[in-house]
C-alpha cells in the first residue's frame, strides 16, 4: 500500500545570511498511511512546523524528498486537494464566515454547493453565524470556521499546525472533542503539529516525538484507544501513563533546547 504521505530523509537548512545557517531538520523520515491521524509533538523550535510546511508545499527540502501519494506536494496543492488550518486562523477579515468557508472552492473554481456548505458549517457548530465577520467571533469560533474551510474541498490530506494553541484551556479541550468527532466522520489523512501532549493523545492514531535542534524523530508511538473517543478517556490510567511517558521524553529535549538563540517555530 502506498503511503499517503512519505517523508524520506528530509533535511531543511535555513540560510541566515552572512554565511550562517541553521539546520531545522536533520534527515527526518516519516510515513503517514491513508486515513491515519498522526500528531507530531516536540519542544519549540524542533522543526515540527517545518515538516508540515514541507508537506504543504510552503517549503522545499534542502535534501531528501517529500511526496504525497508519490507526487510532490505542489501538485496536490495545485489540484486543490490539501486542507490546512494554522495557529493563526488566517480567515480573511473582509469576508463573512460563509464566504471564508467557500474561499477554497472559489480558488479551485468549483461552484459551491449551498447545502453542503450549510452542513459543514453546522458540523463545526457555527450555524447562525454564516453572515458574521471573523472579528465578531470568539477565538474558538474563528478556529472552527478555519477547520470548516480546511474541510470544504474534501481534501486528501489535512494539515493542522497548532490550530488551537492560541485558545484558552477550556475552549481548547472543547475544540479537541469537536475535532475528534468531525475527524471520525471524515477519516482524512491528517497531520497535526502541537505541543499539547493531551491533545495529541486524544486525537491521534500515532504520535511522533521530535527533539530539537536540529529536529529529529526520537519516538514513534501507536495510540490505539478505540474510536470514537469520549472525553472520559482523558481520565483513564492508560491515558495518564502515556501522558507521563511522552512528557518525560519532551522534558530533557526542552531543557537542552532552551539556551539556543533564534526564532521560534519554523
Amino acid at each position: 500500500m502506498t503511503a499517503a504521505i512519505h517523508v524520506d530523509r528530509a533535511r531543511k537548512t535555513f540560510d541566515l545570511g552572512k554565511g550562517k545557517s541553521v539546520e531545522a531538520l536533520a534527515g527526518v523520515s516519516l510515513e503517514v498511511r491513508p486515513g491515519e491521524f498522526v500528531a507530531i509533538i516536540g519542544p519549540s523550535g524542533c522543526g515540527k512546523s517545518t515538516i508540515l510546511r514541507l508537506i504543504g508545499s510552503l517549503e522545499e527540502p534542502t535534501a531528501g524528498t517529500v511526496t504525497i501519494d508519490g507526487r510532490p506536494p505542489r501538485e496536490l496543492a495545485g489540484a486543490h486537494r490539501l486542507g490546512v488550518a494554522f495557529q493563526d486562523h488566517a480567515l480573511l477579515p473582509w469576508l463573512s464566515v460563509w464566504q471564508n468557508v467557500t474561499l477554497p472552492l472559489q480558488v479551485a473554481g468549483v461552484k459551491p454547493d449551498d447545502a453542503k456548505i450549510a452542513a459543514l458549517i453546522r458540523l463545526v457548530g457555527l450555524e447562525g453565524f454564516e453572515k458574521a465577520r471573523p472579528r465578531q467571533l470568539s477565538g474558538g469560533m474563528r478556529q472552527r470556521a478555519a477547520i470548516a474551510r480546511a474541510l470544504v474541498l474534501g481534501p486528501e490530506v489535512l494539515l493542522l499546525d497548532e490550530p488551537f494553541a492560541a485558545l484558552d484551556a477550556v475552549t481548547r479541550r472543547y475544540m479537541n472533542i469537536e475535532l475528534q468527532r468531525i475527524w471520525t466522520e471524515s477519516r482524512i489523512t491528517t497531520l497535526l503539529v502541537t505541543h499539547g501532549v493531551d491533545e495529541a493523545l486524544f486525537l491521534a492514531d500515532r504520535i511522533v516525538v521530535m527533539s530539537g535542534r536540529p529536529g529529529r524523530i526520537i519516538e514513534n508511538l501507536d495510540i490505539d484507544f478505540p474510536r470514537p473517543r469520549m472525553p472520559a478517556l482523558m481520565r483513564t490510567p492508560a491515558f495518564h501513563a502515556l501522558y507521563d511517558h511522552l512528557a518525560d521524553l519532551l522534558e530533557p529535549a526542552a531543557a537542552e533546547n532552551e539556551p539556543v538563540a533564534g526564532g521560534g517555530e519554523s
Binding site: S57, F86, L103, V107
Partner: protein
C-alpha cells in the same frame, strides 16, 4: 503629565477647532482692513462679498467646472496608470524594481517643467489633465504598491496551500488587502491632481480656475484673486473630506 488636547471629548475639541478658525478669520479681516500687509491683502469681507455676488457666479462657475472636468479626467487617468503599473509590477516581480525607479524619476521632474512638453506633445486643452494625471498616478502607484504587499504571511501561505494561481491570489487576497492603503492614496491624490490641473491651466488653457488666477493677478484684481484661491481651497477640502469617508469605510471593512 497631562496629555493635553488628545484626551478631550468630541464637543470640546470641536469647540476648540471652531475657536481657532474664528481667530484665523478675524486676523485675516483685521490685517486686510488696516492694510497691515499692504494692498495685496484684502479684508475677508471683500472676498466674501465677491463670492456672494450673483453677477460673478457665471464666471466662477465656468472656471470651476472646467477645472473640475480636467481634474476628474486627470485623476481617473492617474488611477488607471498608477494602479495598472502597481498591479503589473506586483504580478511580474522582475519588473518591480524598474517600475519603482521609473515612477520615482518621473515624479522628481517638476511639473512646471513638464508643462511645455505636454503643450507641444498634446494640446493646450489637455495639458491640465495630463499634469493632474502625472501627479495622481505617482501617489496611487506608491499607495497601491504598498497595499498589494500588505497581505499577511499567514494569508499568503493559506492561498499557496489551496493551490491558488497568481491571478486568483490577486483577486481573492492581494487586491482586497490593498484597499485600505489604496483608499489613502485615492484621498491624497485629490489635492495633488487639483494642483496639477491649476499648474497645467497656467500654460494657456482656454478657461479654468488657474486661468482666472493668472488673469486676476495680471489685472491687479486682488479680491478676485483671493476669491479664486478660497474657491480652490474649499473644493480641495470638500473632495478630500469626501474621500476620507471612503478611506474610513475601507479601513473598517478590509483592514
Amino acid at each position: 503629565m497631562s496629555r493635553g488636547g488628545a484626551n478631550r471629548s468630541g464637543p470640546a475639541r470641536a469647540a476648540l477647532g471652531i475657536a481657532g478658525l474664528l481667530l484665523f478669520l478675524c486676523a485675516w479681516q483685521a490685517i486686510g482692513y488696516y492694510r497691515l500687509a499692504g494692498l495685496s491683502w484684502p479684508p475677508l469681507t471683500d472676498v466674501i462679498a465677491l463670492l456672494a455676488d450673483p453677477e460673478r457666479w457665471p464666471l466662477l462657475g465656468r472656471a470651476l467646472s472646467a477645472t473640475l472636468a480636467a481634474m476628474t479626467a486627470g485623476y481617473l487617468l492617474g488611477i488607471v496608470l498608477g494602479l495598472g503599473a502597481a498591479v503589473g509590477a506586483h504580478m511580474f516581480p522582475i519588473a518591480h524594481p524598474g517600475t519603482d525607479r521609473l515612477a520615482a524619476v518621473v515624479n522628481s521632474i517638476p511639473s512646471i517643467a513638464l508643462g511645455p512638453v505636454f503643450i507641444v506633445f498634446l494640446s493646450r486643452e489637455s495639458t491640465a489633465a495630463a499634469i493632474a494625471a502625472a501627479h495622481a498616478a505617482f501617489i496611487i502607484y506608491v499607495a497601491a504598491s504598498s497595499g498589494l504587499a500588505a497581505a499577511s504571511r499567514g494569508h499568503r501561505d493559506l492561498l499557496v496551500v489551496l493551490g491558488a494561481s497568481r491571478l486568483s491570489r490577486l483577486r481573492h487576497l492581494d487586491l482586497p488587502a490593498s484597499l485600505p492603503s489604496l483608499s489613502t492614496g485615492l484621498k491624497l491624490a485629490v489635492p495633488a491632481a487639483l494642483i496639477g490641473t491649476i499648474i497645467g491651466e497656467w500654460f494657456g488653457a482656454p478657461r479654468g480656475l488657474g486661468v482666472l488666477i493668472v488673469n486676476a493677478m495680471q489685472n491687479f484684481q486682488i479680491a478676485l484673486l483671493w476669491s479664486v484661491v478660497v474657491l480652490i481651497a474649499s473644493t480641495s477640502l470638500a473632495l478630500y473630506s469626501a474621500l476620507s469617508l471612503l478611506e474610513r469605510a475601507c479601513y473598517a471593512r478590509f483592514a
